[in-house]
Amino acid sequence: MGWIRRLFHTSRAEKELDTELRFHLDHQIADNVAAGMEPGEARRQAMLTLGGLENVKEEVREAHWETRLENLFRDFRYALRNLRKDRRFSVTAILVLALGIGANTAVFSVVNALILHPLPVERPVELTFLENAHYGPSQSFPNYRELRDRNQSFAGLTGYRMAPMELETDRGAERIWGYLATGNYFDVLGVKPALGRFFNQKDDVNPGASPYAVLSYGAWQARFGGDPAIVGKTIRINRLPYTVFGVAPPSFHGTEILYWPEVWVPMMMQPRIEGRSWLDERSTWNTFVIGRLKPNVSAAQAEANLNSVAGELIRQFPSENDGLLFKLTKPGLIGDLIGGPAKAFAFGVLALVALVLLAACTNLASMFTARATDRQREIAVRLAIGAGRGRVVRQVLTETIVLSLAGGGAGYLLASFLASILSRLHAPMDFPMQLNVTVDWRVFLFAMASSMAAALLFGSAPAWRASKTDPNAALRGASATWGRNRLALRDLLVIVQVALCFVLVSASFLSLRGLQQALQMNLGFQPQRVSTAAFELSLAGYSEERGRAFQRQALEAIQQLPGVQSAAYSNSVPLSIDQSHTSVFPADKTDLRPSDRVGVVRYQVSPEFFATLGTRLLAGRDFSWNDDSKSPSVAIVNLAFAKRVFHGENAVGKRFPSYSGSPVEVVGIVEDGKYESLTESQQPAVFWPILQSYNSTTTLEVRSSLPAAQMVSEIRRTIAKLDPELPLYGAGGLEQMLGFAFLPTRVAAVALSAFGILAIMLAATGIHGLVSYSVSRRTHEIGIRMAVGAQPMQILRVILSRTAVLLLFGSLVGFASALALGQVITSIVYADHPRDPLVMVSVWLAIALLGLFASWSPARRATRVDPMVALRYE
């Protein structure tokens, strides 16, 4: 392949060309001198006839390029002609590639949107998210202020918080999600408004004194009809007037990739938005912080700088800042909280989908090798009339490249289609979560690169075969070229296909089993037939006193509804997105050092909460309406809490120190449950009586015999009678509301099942192809065997034994790989045991069935060979 060599060795070729031309020139001069010219004149004349050394070189180079282009065109024309001749083959190959590349590109576009795509802000590489190495992604607001004023590494640090708000429009009040953000927010991010202006540092100075709002583009369009005169108008948030300063551009939706807020309000309005001010509380960690690094400051330097400030903060406020340590992470996924698992999930799926493409390539490689065998004569003729082997290889590769590009193009279209579906998906919950999967140049490059990689992967085997063709043998008769070598290659390809199929099928079985286990898992409550609806009283302007009265009134009204078995209210329900934590101290500790704290999940619940949710009370009693602010502090805890805080003793009647150190008596113990995610390890949980610790966020839980939809509309009507203005959110059946918790498991099960099905289809066609091929090749031999009296069963054994051996080998390799890849798979799917024996046995069975199924029809054909016909064959 001289032209390829020349592409890479241009400098050597150039030097040779120079030497060659100088040789010519010197000879010309010498001849001119011999003919009697003056040396100077001889040189001048020689140069004249040469017409400029550089010009000649340029023309030689052009000649090379022309031949290269000519060859390329000829190869492409030849490839197209060949592929057109064999239309069924080409269409199959393009389809297989389109599925493989399409699936890969679609997964990659999700990875791209989630991880690679930069935030739509100015110089996104300079932005970094501030995280606590021990406590997670939030900071206390006083700490944010100290960091902002004391650091030397950041051009700006901005603090913000996701917050629900109640927005009034023409359609009435609705609960929406927005951001509370410090005044420098938009300046630090470097975003330009689509309309009006953004608020700035000067607009965010005194608590409660900056009633300004910036709308998201979507909210402006959807809730205000794109009103061009919106700037300067007053809107009502939480029943107070706010002036609209401007509208954000359509591409900007804050700094969280999955979160689509509708409004930005200055941080100083936090007390008005959330009811209780924590702006000066050192113990409330509610603020996310993003910083823009100064030019020439590295993330490591900034981290060191922040941690020296952290040292000062620990000395000044030891009890609140105990163990404070900062680390910087990429913004967009709330640090490692979502970023960690999301990345593991995304790359895990990407790895598995790459295996699908690999299986597709292996499949195509064996199809191509078979085809190359059929074309042996043609190739042999071409070799015999003097085509170089390099040229034959190049032609085979050109064909695979043409196919890959066609398949890649179709795959890219398929991926764009899938991406547009994914972008429109909304998670089934009361939270504006969405992933905008755009198909950008990175995705296009990825599709092209995987096409080329595929072409080389599946083209190299047949190309290698073609180059090994012995023209003499091939022309003497096709059978002469059936060496052991090629069969070994095809066998190897089938083994690889079966192994890949095994891995992918076991991943999909594991994900399905995980989903099944998750659905049957004991959640610690019975969500069936429970309906919920939530409202937020402080947003609606209720004081604590009026709020308490309203909660009680609403509950009593709902308990009166027909069909209601029991009802209760709480600040939140387990496995919803809104979970709270607190810390307590082990019962035997008296000095209450911060390092002894035990983190627990915290709920505030009304009497009958456990009965309504179906959580078993294991010991003690439920709360009563007498557990109010006048009676001593009590709590109900789960088993894990009792083990952790009381070291397994019977906890009922005992006391433990709460966060503030004041003692609380345990009156009941309930069973353990899942609180934040299905995959969490067992967490301790504490339930406070809501009468002793008021919370304006109210979720009503109703267990009834009515269908959820009917119950919810009854609840709506009942609440509307009490306060027609109060917006309800999160209304629906609890089972449906748990969609959020089951979402990752479901997504994984759907994706991996699709991969599994693709892999099975590929392996089935691969095995079918191999058996058909070997039957047609051995028709003659089978005929002889039958003529000498072999029974159909014996023929079957001959044909199938080889397939069985290949299947066994492939499955063994796949089994080993699946065990080795268990770690990757558990990062994607919820599985108790990544090596679940039941799953592994089913995969073995599935592969065996697959082999039987795929080889059935060619094997039957073998038993029906007519010896007379077979012996006349060829």
Binding site: E16, T19, E20, F23, H24, D26, G51, V56, G386
Partner: protein, 114 residues
């Protein structure tokens, strides 16, 4: 140099080069010289067309090249015909002769008819 000589029929130069090289491995300068001598100075081949042609023929696999010492003791690039080149030359010469005799027939017959 007149126009007839510069506008060699496309491909003709290739054939002539192949023919000259068929006489034995030669370097570029000698090919030019020999073409000029044999054609009695009719063809004066420019380097600007000779070398691109040589490299093109080499790319097509009709010529192969090797570096060795020339008669003057300097390293030079010697071209020789490959098997494929040999066949190509024979085909082109046959083609050319057919073309010439056909053209000759037409020219002669027209003299007689008018």
């Amino acid at each position: 140099m007149n126009d007839a000589r510069t506008e060699l029929l496309k491909g003709t130069l290739d054939m002539l080069i192949l023919k000259v090289i068929a006489l034995g491995p030669t370097h570029g300068y000698a090919i030019a010289q020999r073409l000029q001598q044999i054609s009695r100075d009719f063809f004066q081949v420019h380097q600007g067309s000779l070398y691109p042609a040589l490299h093109r023929l080499e790319d097509r696999g009709w010529l192969q090249a090797e570096w060795r010492e020339s008669e003057t003791g300097r390293e030079a690039k010697f071209y020789s015909l490959t098997k494929k080149g040999q066949r190509q030359m024979e085909a082109e010469v046959a083609n050319w002769e057919q073309l010439c005799s056909a053209v000759g027939l037409v020219l002669r017959s027209s003299e007689g008819d008018f």
